[in-house]
Amino acid sequence: MRLDTSTDPQVGFRPPGPLDPSTALQTYDGPFGRRQAAHLSRRAGFGPTPQEVDALAGLGMQHAVDSFLHPSVPELDFPDVPDGMFDPKTRVSAPQNWWLDRMLRTRRPLVEKMTLFWHGHFATSYTKVPTYLMVAQINLFRSQALGNFRTLLLSVARDPAMLIWLDNRFNVAAHPNENFAREVMELFALGLGNYSEDDVKDAARAFTGWTVDTHGAAVYKENLHDAGIKTILGRTGPFGSEDVVNLIVAQPVHQRFICRKLLEYFVYSDPEPELVDALAQVYAISGYDLARTVGTVLRSNVFNSSRAYRALPKSPIEFTIGILRYLGVQQIPPDTVTWLRRMGQIPLAPPSVKGWDGGPAWINTATLLARFNFVSKVVSAAPRSDAQTAPPATAMAAAGAAPMLAGGAPPMAAATFATLTPDRIVAQTGGMDAGRIVQLLASGALQDDVTSNVRKTLLDYLNSAGAAAPAPLGPENYQDKIRGALSLVLQLPANQLN
């Protein structure tokens, strides 16, 4: 059976250059510097702080991947459920910000990244599902983020949010409702063209009986289950939900389907069929083990190749959290979800059961403007410190001992602001030197993935060369100029790429 990719908007966005399928998934043993380390952090997490880039690079590739896959540091003490989840005013915003906060601060970024993957894959939305059940579903995804797909799919089939979202709670022997069964086959596990309408009908019968009680708990009601004989994917028997899941995951086309999607999330768009087949073998041999499968990807030659480097557009969440992390923001600013909506990705509300299209669909004039304006907003909101009253160089000499982006949590009131302020930048570069400031920003934010033309344009901007009223960088204008330069760097096309 073939894998139908005809509706994938990412087709056509494969990076140029050849693939060697025989070595693509073998363990990479080339150089592992700041650029490779930042690449790993962007893909396996939500992007690094400048310190994290150096620390990761120092570990070497194997230990760096291990630090994502098998973290030894204890996780921070995050609440299991958000406060305010049952308050009508914060019913939606509290769970959204609860999750974004975890993405921002977690010490298990790969777990959170996979949780986001499963949210987009088993796309369920609060527009139909009570948010406390959305929270429970996110917690389910997190607990099995790098577990076993067979177990995960079965858990999803019995997840209250999903039972409501795709109407399986109404799927009973007397009146089958095909909605869930169809999406399991089309979107969750097999893909279009790899099953028949009769498979959908009989799978729906097999899923009958699982419903939701008045407390929002999943329950199995034997008397609502269709115990009759079904024929699904060429096999016949009195199948139930676990049988359907087992039949599906054993299909080679399922193995390719899920591995292709993982490759598009972690490596690049429209992966070669040979690469998909190679990963599908790893996945099948592992018994559908996600940590083994994802680990193989992260250590591979193809993941560490120049073809994969900055080869995917950042999703709005990756873009937003990445910038907050770079700027040293410790707490999700209250209007973040509003910005994410403008960028086209509302957490807990994917646009349909297909999830977010991703790839080129992230990029249009409206969404890019939202990205630009989010950057301007968060950069301009950074505090001005003592700039108006004290000469910055002196102020910074005093503050110079404190490390930039300090690990300790700043006071709550200031936590939603960037710690990477103009004054800190001047302190880091040891004075108002436009060249060193451009270098600090290009290196810290983009690992020097900027052209010499861009450097020169930024330098001219800081030095006001070519402006109507030239005013070189100095105490009078450095606050606005450095904020402007920082915004311009974070808005660059290179920073839209992951």
């Binding site: 409702n177 089309e186 073809r307 669909a361 249009n364 890019l368 052209t451 006001s464 904020r483």
Partner: protein, 410 residues
């Protein structure tokens, strides 16, 4: 330059362009403008397309209230005959659609019955692709409106108008995917512009940064770069172009009606826009259909009435036509959840000052069914072809595969 348009070609296996040509020269190189099919058609005509996402249940929209079978197969979700807004002694509009009913009585609304296509697809995503690309047998990377744009506005002599077509919403629909024309997607006008802070040099510099060479080899990089340029300049341009238009009707506050208000402003400002795409979602009523669908049809109807009145007050109602579509209708019989599952044919609405109001085609039989679903009587591509030829003045050849007889609604 490599852009969305070029990728489209690549994905079809045709390498079209490379190098660093400025975009409008590149577009000129591929212009395929065809002679206009109708000399008497006002070149300022605008088509507004409204997507009713999720699969709208046609039988509870244009209701066959006079048909006993309707009430029999929908025991709990059928609309009461006494409340339906009657069109004739067989059919009427859902009672919430008072605004649309008013426009219908004024003769400004055509209802095309039983619209569909052979071997209907019941997947939301595939069916939406079929409707938006007008390609039934195989996937197409261009939409029907995109191909229309490629054949009508791409090319020399002048650089393109960025607003030949506009998608109101955060994503660009497949219908507007073109090979040679970029279509901006606009979520809301007050967000369509760069907030560059106090220093005007910031915006100038941003412009300069998006020109020139690119670091890296990702196919996404040039797409992002070109879209960045358009985003940077497009917002200011559009705001200035439509600033003179003042709303002349009171729109409801729901997001769909607000989008229609912006559509009217763009259409009424005569800035060369040919196509505006608007969408309203969540018609996927598998359970508890009545409350959900009635609410959405209420938005559609009230929004449309305000839209028409607004344009009429500006003297523009005669050069704007609006048409609706949905990826499929729903099953004839209700399900056990007081909802309906994915089905097939449904009615479309076409509204505007030049539209010849009335009902076109017959209501599909509720008894002579295809596997529990309605049989279509009008191919949706006939509706598209009619709009292209009779409203936009373009030969449908090359835009719509196959040949379809025009309908007389415009």
């Amino acid at each position: 330059m490599t852009t969305r348009r070029i990728f489209v070609s690549r994905s079809l296996g045709v390498a079209v362009l490379g190098g660093t040509m400025p975009s409008f020269f590149a577009r000129a190189a591929f212009a395929q403008a065809l002679p206009s099919a109708g000399a008497t058609i006002d070149p300022r005509n605008v088509l507004v397309v409204v997507q009713m996402g999720g699969g709208n249940d046609g039988l509870n929209t244009v209701v066959p209230y006079g048909d006993d079978d309707y009430h029999r197969v929908r025991p709990t979700i059928a609309l009461e005959a006494a409340k339906v807004l009657r069109i004739d002694d067989r059919i009427g509009l859902n009672p919430v659609m008072t605004g649309l009913s008013e426009l219908y009585k004024q003769g400004h609304v055509a209802i095309v019955q039983g619209v569909g296509y052979p071997n209907p697809n019941r997947s939301h995503f595939e069916a939406t692709q079929i409707w938006e690309t007008a390609s039934i047998d195989r996937p197409s990377s261009t939409g029907w409106l995109g191909r229309y744009l490629d054949r009508s506005v791409a090319g020399p002599p002048a650089p393109q108008n960025l607003f030949n077509a506009v998608a109101l919403g955060d994503t660009l629909p497949s219908a507007l995917m073109a090979q040679h024309v970029d279509v901006p997607a606009i979520g809301a006008l007050n967000q369509f512009g760069l907030n560059a802070g106090k220093d005007p040099a910031t915006k100038t510099t941003a412009g300069a940064l998006y020109d020139g060479a690119l670091p890296g080899q990702s196919p996404y990089l040039s797409l992002i770069q070109e879209t960045s340029r358009e985003a940077l300049h497009g917002g200011d341009l559009l705001k200035a172009k439509i600033a003179g238009y003042q709303r002349a009707a009171s729109y409801p506050s729901d997001p769909f009606s607000q989008q229609l208000a912006l559509a009217a402003q763009i259409a009424g400002s005569d800035i060369g826009t040919k196509v505006i795409f608007v969408s309203i979602g969540s018609f996927d009523t598998h359970a508890g259909q009545r409350a959900q669908q009635d609410r959405l049809l209420g938005y559609l109807s009230s929004g449309l009435l305000a839209f028409y009145k607004d344009l009429e007050a500006h003297g523009c109602a005669d050069r704007v036509t609006l048409m609706t579509f949905s990826e499929f209708g729903r099953r004839v019989a209700q399900n056990a959840s007081n909802g309906t599952d994915h089905g097939t044919a449904m009615p479309l609405f076409i509204a505007g000052g030049k539209v010849k109001g009335g009902v076109y085609g017959t209501h599909p039989s509720l008894v002579d069914l295809d596997n529990g679903d309605l049989r279509f009587s009008t191919d949706f591509r006939a509706v598209y072809a009619t709009v292209l030829e009779k409203w936009l003045g373009r030969d449908p050849a090359g835009v719509i595969a196959g040949s379809f007889e025009n309908l007389p609604f415009v």
